[in-house]
Symmetry: C2
Amino acid sequence: MIELRKDPISSKWVIINDTRDFQFEVEKFSADDDTSSCPFCPGNEHLIPRPISCYDKNGKKIDVNSKDWALKVIPNNKPILTIEGSILRKAEGIYDKMKGVGAHEILIETPKHKDKFLYKKTSTFITNVLAVQDRINDLRNDTRLEYILVFKSYGKSSGGTVSHPHFQLVALPIIPKSVKDEMTSAKKYYDFKERCLFCDIIDQELSAKTRLVTENSSFVAFVPFASRFPFETWICPKEHSYDFRNINDINKIHELAEITTSVVKRLNRALGNNISYNLMLHSYPLKENKIDYYHWHIEIVPKITKFNGFDLVSGMYVNPTIPEDSAKFLREAE
Amino acid sequence: MIELRKDPISSKWVIINDTRDFQFEVEKFSADDDTSSCPFCPGNEHLIPRPISCYDKNGKKIDVNSKDWALKVIPNNKPILTIEGSILRKAEGIYDKMKGVGAHEILIETPKHKDKFLYKKTSTFITNVLAVQDRINDLRNDTRLEYILVFKSYGKSSGGTVSHPHFQLVALPIIPKSVKDEMTSAKKYYDFKERCLFCDIIDQELSAKTRLVTENSSFVAFVPFASRFPFETWICPKEHSYDFRNINDINKIHELAEITTSVVKRLNRALGNNISYNLMLHSYPLKENKIDYYHWHIEIVPKITKFNGFDLVSGMYVNPTIPEDSAKFLREAE
């Protein structure tokens, strides 16, 4: 198949082409086993800044000095943005700039350094959800901030020197262009159809079933029609919801944890154990009020394809696998 | 410095942050020395499709069977798009798709397999320019096509199995989103100011000089204000020109070759010999007529930073070097 498919959300065309030789290079996660110098391990607290908050295994906030934490949030000590100061938007001739103000936090997912395949346990993911919601609630009081990125880079390419399981949160004083593009497409669709684009996508995926990976009563996981990468999988709430913080019923959080761990397990079964991946939360911008056209979701992309320069030069992706094939593979990797 | 800078052309904010530990990992180009099985070497013509066209060292078209070629254009035998058939735009429910119609050509830049540091000679680049212009002239007669990408991926990450010097041309039945974004920003600026955005940028860079790398009478090379990558360098014609094919004066082509080879040499001197890089031509979409707001240019990005997942999850770049520092380094690497 050589086909061009348009992702209705990013408005990007993707080339789907499975006719070329393609060597799968699945990147495996290999943890550094040295716990003595790991700044995230209990006992090495002197190596890291004072925690912002700590949570027990039920996701309940506990004292930041407690030894019984299940998840601990710390500021990144080499942040990509700094929390101090005001934004100071300025011109430099025709250019625009501002101070690099924002938050960069590390969420340490477990005290156990070698908990490599963390998402075996849905309980871990429940704690993650509650901690993220709590951090978003706190940070949205800071009026300088416009958007919060929450993501996990699991594996070598994460760029960090710390292999202890963690994910990251970056709060920005701007809305990234990629999010703006999503909002623009979704808004245009809503203006035209008076329906949420994501809700329509979910309906179609649930009835077509060809790209479906798995579902439960509140969530659906599918391989997107115009996937950029092999085995890319999205998880969406079935009911319209623009804000990740709206998932506040413990049963729903349990279902989200269940479907997310199921997708990660399927990827591992299909592609080999302990694969590297990126997981990212897409939620609505902080200063938007109740919106009808946006729908929060989670995107998971296993690291298989090498960055080959073509996406850089073209802004386009070539996906060497047919999304329907990826989905079938993941459906069967139960 | 921790600063957010907006690229006026892509409308993307870039985080400029040189406060974090950053290990330069300059990727070197290492050629496969086996010429016996190289499909691009003279004598192995049976391994490749019949050439589309051949050029002598002055860029003059010669017989496709000539042995005296300086540059040879062949169809890619595993193309990402296929030249046959009609586009057939179709819906699949709410989705949009079309047949993967387009051209994918390889421009073999020299018969010499081991001509590793090719851009030492400006003459090679002159031939490249004339061949690209000729291919664009030919392909724009195909009314199915909307845009032509011309790029060189020099180094390991190019993804190809062939190390013989070459670059690629991909003709698309759509305008990529990244190009559309450039056009939109440039058009908005033109509507507001009644001047070309690129012309204003060039003026500012020429007078500020802080990001200037080098210039000659027709072209300027500078590190962009909101560079995504360390040592990213753009080459622009000083005079307004939306179409790469407008450079048809041999003296100007010589100047373009001179400045491009100068930039590649400076990158090599500054970062170590035989570095890998991406070079891409940004010209206007095929079906646009004479336009006042777009300005063709060449972007060169050396491969230094690893893909770390953050640009994927955020659609944002973090540049660990200050553009003014990169420019100073390149200015002095004469």
